[in-house]
């Protein structure tokens, strides 16, 4: 259990660092786009498309961290009401986390297939400075994000299972 917690802490640090980097890029670039539009009446043509896809990256990393911190939206009243009965509560948490992991795994698989199809198609999302950026490069976050959510759900499930014994 201790090893698992350490491994998760490392993963969370990595996710956090990536998220902070991407969000900083997003904020700076979004601000420069507005400034360019207000003062020069123009901005980078591909800027808005890029930013919209960056939101997906930031969002999925945020969702992974939310799963690690058990901050996903859920109906919590029953679990909260059972705070006096730790075993019953752990059993509910185990079922809930396994449900998250199962659906997460299905969606990881589905988005992996989607990513392969996008890669096959090799469509350009936008052209930046003569360099064609393919659409699949941004779609990487779908299987990656769902995989991270699944992993964190499994770790939470293991923690709940440990409380059952």
């Amino acid at each position: 259990m201790e090893k698992l917690k350490k491994a998760e802490a490392l993963l969370v640090r990595l996710e956090g660092a990536t998220l902070v980097t991407l969000l900083t890029v997003m904020m700076v670039m979004a601000f420069l786009q507005v400034a360019a539009r207000q003062f020069f009446g123009t901005g980078l043509l591909w800027g808005d498309t890029f930013l919209r896809h960056l939101v997906l990256w930031v969002g999925f990393l945020g969702a992974a961290l939310a799963t690690a911190d058990e901050k996903n939206f859920a109906f919590e009243a029953l679990q909260t009401g059972l705070s006096g009965k730790p075993r019953a509560r752990a059993a509910l948490a185990l079922a809930a986390q396994l449900c998250g992991a199962a659906v997460g795994a299905l969606l990881t698989r589905a988005s992996w297939i989607y990513l392969l199809a996008e890669h096959e198609e090799a469509k350009a999302l936008f052209t930046a400075g003569g360099f064609e950026v393919p659409a699949w490069a941004f779609a990487v976050i779908l299987p990656l994000g769902f995989l991270l959510v699944t992993l964190h759900s499994l770790i939470k499930a293991a923690e709940a299972a440990a409380k059952l014994r």
Partner: protein, 425 residues
């Protein structure tokens, strides 16, 4: 099979399974049951539509800016300023609390952070002025969501995205009912102050000057954002970009309330909320697309119209239904319910913007509706009071907000007046 699946999903929901898993799982199952060629792709292709929503970027930017404000000294400066401005009036300190909370909630995304950040400042202030305990407790609990009718609150953005209505128009529409509610609540504060002979605070130019000087860098913010959006100078997304840059500049480099090294923490905490919203939004898109394909809204309309012929009783029924849903979980409620009710309401000839306003005000009421409203729990934790005491303390406020909701529901002009006046499309 479908019955078995529904029972399982319901049990898992009650056990506390994450909403995104319930949405995604249901979408996968329903596409599978409808013999779709590839259920997984149907869900993922819909999810990818997130990247085509133009206002989506305003959600992370506004949320981050709100978290920065909440963790800085802005709440204290805001309360001081409001007290210096309104404190001399009858009921003045309570009115100051109402306005400060409304403004703060609008700017921090109405995620309950107001009760934590401002409630702790305003409650002792009210008690010191000898306002009754129930009144004070009710006020801070109610005001935790008072600002969600004003731009740039997160629920408005989310509603516009999901309901496919113009965000700028909805920003203008919801502000008028929000302002009316604020006025009614201020009137109630004056009444209570009079009945309990609460002393007034003397107005001093000195106090006002000090408060103005302290908040000098934050005062332009509402004008910049709200003015920018209403005048058409910025879109909501652009306003979000400006606000996040401005807030970081002011709180980190001017006031130095936060250090640069605090920012990564604020970023990850705020993006957890954004991520939790986005993953539900993404998976719900698949479920919604199934429901539209299966013509659930038009079937629902057929079913309803057999019994309900006119819009008015429909709106009454809708409000009751929404109140129950909104009490449980606000953001998920918007994401799941809006795509189904918007087409039904259109059939009844209800303006989608009017529907949006009443939905948002219903959310506000849901936040404080017993037994499960979120504000009640936050307040109970923050002020260490048992829930039943909060149910009693918020009852007068609950009735006032309910009255406002009826007004907004049955007087559509109230919502449509400002956007029409400003010609916002």
């Amino acid at each position: 099979m479908t019955i078995l699946f529904s029972v399982l999903a319901l049990l898992l929901a009650v056990a506390g399974a994450p909403v995104f898993a319930l949405m995604g799982g249901s979408a996968l199952y329903l596409f599978h049951a409808a013999e779709s060629a590839d259920p997984g792709q149907s869900v993922i292709i819909e999810l990818m539509r997130l990247a085509t929503m133009p206002s989506l970027i305003s959600i992370p930017l506004f949320t981050f800016a709100g978290y920065v404000l909440a963790e800085s000294g802005a709440p204290k400066r805001l309360v001081d300023l409001a007290e210096a401005l309104f404190g001399w009036m009858p009921g003045g300190v309570a009115i100051a609390g109402l306005f400060a909370c409304a403004l703060f909630t609008a700017f921090t995304g109405a995620s309950g952070v107001t009760i934590i950040a401002l409630g702790g400042l305003i409650h002792p202030l009210l008690r010191k002025q000898r306002y009754p305990e129930d009144f004070s407790l009710g006020l801070v609990t109610t005001t935790g969501s008072l600002g969600l009718m004003f731009p740039p609150s997160l629920p408005i953005i989310l509603y516009a995205l999901v309901g496919k209505v113009s965000l700028d128009r909805l920003f203008a529409a919801s502000a008028v009912p929000g302002a009316v509610l604020l006025l009614i609540l201020s009137g109630y504060a004056v009444f209570i102050a009079g009945r309990h002979k609460v002393p007034r605070v003397a107005f001093t130019g000195q106090a006002l000057r000090t408060a103005l000087r302290a908040a000098a860098w934050e005062i332009p913010l509402p004008f910049l954002i709200v003015g920018g959006i209403y005048s058409g100078k910025f879109t909501a997304s652009e306003a979000a970009a400006v606000m996040s840059a401005y807030v970081v500049f002011v709180e980190v480099f001017v006031y130095r309330d936060l250090k640069t090294c605090d920012l990564p923490g604020v970023m990850t905490r705020s993006m957890m909320l954004v991520g939790a919203i986005m993953i539900v939004l993404g998976t719900a898109l698949g479920l919604t697309s199934y429901m539209i394909d299966a013509e659930i809204p038009s079937r629902l309309f057929e079913l309803l119209s057999a019994h309900i012929k006119t819009p008015w009783p429909f709106l009454a029924l809708l409000n009751v239904f929404l109140l129950i849903i909104n009490m449980v979980e606000i953001f998920s409620a918007i994401i799941i319910v809006v795509p189904i009710i918007v087409p039904v309401a259109l059939q009844y000839g209800i303006d989608p913007i009017h529907l949006g306003t009443l939905f948002l005000l219903n959310l506000e009421l849901g936040y404080m509706t017993p037994p499960l409203g979120l504000n009640l729990f936050l307040s109970s934790r923050r002020f260490n009071k048992p829930l039943p005491e909060l149910y009693r303390a918020t009852l007068p406020y609950w009735l006032i907000v309910l009255g406002a909701l009826l007004l907004v529901t049955y007087v559509p002009r109230l919502s449509l007046w400002l956007p029409d006046l400003l010609h916002i499309q």
